[in-house]
């Protein structure tokens, strides 16, 4: 078992304040689904920020709120779900305060979304080119037809696709090619934030890697902040520099990849990391005990306490842990830690 006590050597230095302002700040984002069986809080006071060029991997079990977070940031939550509050600030605009028309204009332009189901994300009856052109035309007024086409073929080239794809239909492309087209569409307007929702989930291993490399390259090209949503920790480890762990609609830990893999703080993160196959365990797979809780009846206090090896105390069962920033700048929401990075008495 990983030691739960912070080693105090690292506590002296705090993270160097960055020269640049974060390009994305999410504050207390909340989403609730109103169902027949009751209310389900799918996103509970989620806050984090990213700088330009940073890559954040968002992990968690299915139902933990990863995809809800992506949709909420795009303001695409559909009934019976509702965004109950919070801010999503891109640059200096709070997306939540925009009008519907303003939000429409901000999509793709400020914040782009690369969908999970790339297999069906392209309109089957329109040529790829037409689907790229309409995206540009919806945001840029008065650009000449040939200029738009150049922009589109350039985007196709930068995701390693032949410009000939421009005149093809979706059914003529492979799964990997379709995913690349979606990425090409995502970078058409050089947005400052890109959210990729399990962009590789339906692809084979080789194509997965290629698509990840493509995302990396275009991200470097336009210096966007990227949020990568997924549950494949292994793939994530190679692609991102920050990792955030979600559990039951809350962000429970966020740190650099290295810290997350060498010294996870939250017991849930620890379980996630130790469930990864590695050379030491020699293929012996260890799952995380217990079941993911239903959002309709979350355990009281810390939602993880029924599955947590430290969860049997009154504190864990009755009080919800608030996120704390540990020395070094990493964030964790767990009763085991306080601001000094020490275990609570």
């Amino acid at each position: 078992m990983v030691s739960l006590v912070m080693n105090s050597a690292a506590s002296a230095k705090s993270a160097a304040p960055s020269a640049s302002q974060p390009v994305l700040r999410v504050n207390n984002l909340e989403v609730t689904y109103y169902t027949d069986l009751g209310r389900a809080k799918a996103l509970d006071a989620v806050s984090f920020s990213l700088k330009a060029g940073q890559k954040l991997g968002m992990v968690g079990e299915s139902g933990s709120g990863k995809s809800t977070l992506a949709l909420a940031m795009m303001r695409m939550i559909k009934p019976p779900g509702r965004i109950e509050g919070g801010q999503v600030i891109v640059g200096d605009t709070d997306l939540m305060s925009l009008t519907d028309e303003g939000m429409r204009a901000a999509r793709l332009d400020k914040i782009a979304y690369i969908p999970q189901g790339a297999m069906n994300s392209l309109n089957p009856v329109m040529r790829i080119g037409a689907q790229m052109i309409d995206a540009v035309r919806s945001h840029v007024r008065g650009e000449r037809g040939s200029a738009i086409e150049d922009r589109c073929t350039a985007a196709l080239r930068s995701v390693d696709l032949d410009p000939g794809v421009f005149r093809m239909y979706a059914h003529e492309l492979s799964g990997g090619m379709k995913q690349r087209v979606c990425i090409a569409i995502g970078i058409l307007l050089r947005p400052s934030v890109i959210i990729a929702d399990e962009p590789t989930s339906a692809l084979d291993v080789v194509t997965q890697r290629q698509v990840m490399e493509t995302i990396n390259r275009v991200q470097a090209e336009i210096n966007a902040a990227v949020i990568l949503i997924g549950h494949d920790m292994g793939l994530m480890a190679q692609a991102v520099d920050q990792v955030a762990v979600m559990y039951a609609g809350r962000l429970v830990e966020m740190s650099s990849v290295r810290e997350m893999f060498t010294d996870p703080k939250h017991p849930y993160s620890q379980a996630l990391i130790s469930s990864l196959p590695n050379l030491d365990t020699k293929g012996v797979f260890r799952g995380i005990p217990g079941l993911a809780p239903s959002l309709l009846r979350l355990p009281s206090g810390c939602a993880f306490h029924p599955r947590c090896p430290h969860g049997h105390e009154e504190l864990q069962r009755s009080v919800r842990p608030e996120p704390v920033t540990l020395p070094g700048g990493r964030m964790v929401a767990c009763h085991l830690y306080n601001e000094d990075g020490h275990r609570h008495g």
Binding site: P80, G290, L296, S300, R317
Partner: protein, 305 residues
């Protein structure tokens, strides 16, 4: 490490949110699926009208020369009488009963045929499937009503009874359910539990009746409602064309008779209007139930809120 989970851990108080009762959930569902509730309500009201009517009214009054001629609705004849001296209230009660009878009988036969053929096609596959599917595909574009016209027209009008009418309708109405059931059995066949049953040596019949049939019930129910709707509709059209059992006060027959006698030209407006309204209630209710069931079976069709 102990395996505990939120739902089984006794040390997790305040966790339980009471699951609403079945009745509450049903009522909540009806509130959203209003069509189903209203449709079932109308059907219930019509059934009550018919049953009470059959108990209270002398069915003989639904036949010619049993009442004064051409009376507009009055206290004595709340629904009026027609050119042939039928009390239209009695005619409505009997006609409704006959319509229901034809609908249920023809719908039942059509569904049963469809279930059997669909099963045979999907379960045994091969040439059986090929033959059944091809026949269905070739018959589907042929307008059923017109073939029914040929059949009904080839019968002596004195031979046409309520039961023959139901048979004519049922004879050509099994293609739809056959294809639906076939498709469902095909998907069920691929499911694990059928494979397990097969491996553990359960016989064909055992698999059909114990494993597959129970899972098909919702689809059979939906097909049945659709078939009843189709049968009521088809028998109504046949009767309006003058191919029904002419002596019977079937709703379509009443309209055919009224139109033949130029009811509107002569001012006997109530004569064709009453069976028309009765038909609207029946078909409307069946359509609502049918749509409601669709919504129940396929939640994606649900209206966005």
């Amino acid at each position: 490490m102990t395996l505990t989970s939120a739902s089984t851990n006794p040390a997790a108080p305040n966790v339980a949110i009471v699951q609403p009762s079945r009745l509450t959930l049903t009522l909540r569902y009806f509130r959203r699926n209003k069509g189903l509730a209203i449709g079932l309500g109308i059907l219930l009201a019509l059934a009550l009208f018919t049953i009470i009517g059959l108990l209270v009214i002398d069915p003989k009054k639904a036949y010619p020369l049993s009442a004064a001629l051409k009376q507009s609705p009055s206290l004595k004849y709340p629904f009026g009488t027609d050119f042939f001296g039928r009390d239209l209230l009695a005619a409505m009660v009997v006609g409704m009963w006959q319509t229901a009878f034809i609908g249920l009988l023809a719908g039942g036969i059509g569904t049963a045929l469809g279930v059997v053929l669909g099963f045979l096609a999907a379960y045994f596959g091969g040439w059986v499937d090929g033959v059944i599917r091809t026949i269905c595909q070739i018959l589907t574009p042929i307008p059923v009503l017109l073939i029914q016209v040929v059949v009904a027209g080839s019968l002596d009008k004195r031979d046409v009874t309520i039961v023959t009418m139901a048979m004519i309708v049922a004879m050509l109405a099994w293609m739809g359910p056959t294809l639906v059931i076939r498709a469902q059995v095909l998907t069920l066949k691929e499911r694990q539990f059928v494979a397990v049953a097969k491996l553990s040596g359960v016989s064909d019949m055992g698999i059909i009746f114990k494993e597959i049939l129970p899972n098909l019930l919702p689809f059979i129910a939906a097909a049945f409602v659709g078939q009843v709707f189709g049968a009521v509709f088809a028998s109504f059209y046949l009767a309006v064309l003058g191919l029904g059992p002419l002596r019977e006060p079937l709703l379509g027959n009443i309209i055919w008779a009224a139109q033949s006698q130029g009811a509107f030209f002569n001012g006997w407006w109530w004569w064709p209007l009453e069976p028309a309204f009765a038909m609207i209630l029946i078909l409307g209710a069946l359509a609502l139930v049918n749509m409601g069931l669709d919504e129940l079976a396929n939640p994606r069709v649900r209206r966005t809120e």
